[in-house]
Symmetry: C2
């Protein structure tokens, strides 16, 4: 349902009385002191975004920290050919914009709501004031950025793989739980098109690779739900030009030891 333009980005959906409870339950604010939460709840603004509405553009100014109350935001670098290189998908309780606010740098990506979303907007001045007056908070933020940097490097590693099969294998194996040796289930955290953009693939190639893995028996797929049958085999799968000729694949399956 489209929202009237004037309604964008300034709706107040949660009554002030309940806002404190709501944000107190968000993962981002875990461990904050009561007085800090109260100040943030009093000073922060709420932002409502319709699906596909843009919060910021690459190169623009980002003068606030945002915390996702509900919905999902998509951070991506727009490429020639209308493709998107997805940097991060930000879900409920996660934050975005720390680096830009702290350094005053222009936003390095486009930010768009991938679903109808509800954000908390913490002004740059407010944010920096809270950090400055509480070393504990500064340290927490330091750990947050360290974690995000390592996450980004993991993405880089995935994208560095040469073939699509290797990329998808690396990506899926990220979700393997502790102790799950060979089999596990997972759910894709976004549209396949966005996952593809995260792996540096076109959605068509991503689709083909998944279909190939299903044919090989390495995974089983039903909508967004994926069951990995052979985690060890995934990493070593040979992408031998196989996902173009279904019939040639059938032969290969019979030649090689079946994975299922």
């Amino acid at each position: 349902m489209p929202i009237a333009p004037g309604h964008y980005m300034n709706a107040l959906h949660i009554p002030i009385a309940h806002l404190l409870d709501t944000i107190g339950r968000l993962a981002y604010f875990k461990g904050w002191r009561a007085d800090q939460l109260a100040r943030v709840a009093a000073e922060a603004h709420q932002v409502a975004l319709a699906k596909n509405e843009r919060l910021a553009a690459k190169g623009g100014l980002l003068d606030a920290l945002y915390v996702v109350i509900s919905g999902q935001m998509r951070l991506f670098i727009p490429l020639p050919s209308n493709m998107e290189r997805v940097i991060r998908l930000v879900g409920q309780g996660e934050s975005l914009g720390e680096s830009c606010v702290l350094l005053g740098d222009p936003c390095p990506y486009d930010i768009i709501a991938s679903k109808a979303s509800h954000l908390l907007r913490i002004d740059a001045l407010t944010y920096r004031r809270e950090l400055r007056t509480d070393p504990v908070l500064t340290e927490r933020t330091l750990l947050l950025l360290a974690r995000r940097l390592l996450d980004t490097l993991r993405e880089t590693e995935i994208c560095a793989q040469r073939t699509g099969v290797q990329k998808v294998a690396c990506y899926l194996l990220q979700f393997r739980p502790q102790g799950a040796e060979t089999q596990f289930e997972m759910r894709l955290p976004a549209r396949k098109r966005d996952i593809a953009g995260q792996l540096g693939l076109s959605q068509e190639t991503f689709s083909r690779v998944l279909a190939f893995l299903v044919r090989q028996g390495a995974i089983h797929m039903k909508g967004n739900l994926i069951r990995v049958n052979n985690a060890a085999g995934l990493a070593t799968l040979n992408p031998t030009g196989c996902y173009r000729e279904p019939e040639a694949c059938e032969k290969l399956i019979q030649v090689n030891a079946p994975v299922g």
Copy 2:
């Protein structure tokens, strides 16, 4: 020149008396208090690495912060097919390892000396103690990681470009100084092979793209020194399969408006 194995990683090259002055001049320690510097100089160890010697392996433990006193370190993700995806080149006065030390996570890349190098090794306990006891230092580190995260995103943007020509163009334009509209000079900060690894290209492709840009008149190259003739033109260059057939390129140069 090979160094005796026992000599690796424990040589003391700078007398204690001069160490304090030496590290005080490094960019990383800019703004540190005298007493902090003194403690670090007293407790840190010096590490000498021969060219191509490894400091840490991907997946291994990294239990110290390192600051480059001299030389250059190469951080990269090893790929099947013996290729390297270079994450970062760390030069004099720069540091590495913050995220791993702070989070206790395994090292996300291999670390190898790309030249004979001299490092300062600050133990994890020492490092965390200094951070814990000085909020100013914590805040400085926070800004450092924010900067590094944005730098990593810029690398991601470069690597996300579809064609090699676009990658190289993006990479070169990074070095454009303020106010330099169309022309500027720069020096490649490492071996071409490592730059290629940073762009997600093979060294052969990188070489071919540079040769193509020279033929087009977009740049001029002499060893590691590159002069960009037409910054605006670089970004819009069409990679039309041209760097495979030199004679076909010649025609294109005459058809299109010459860039030089």
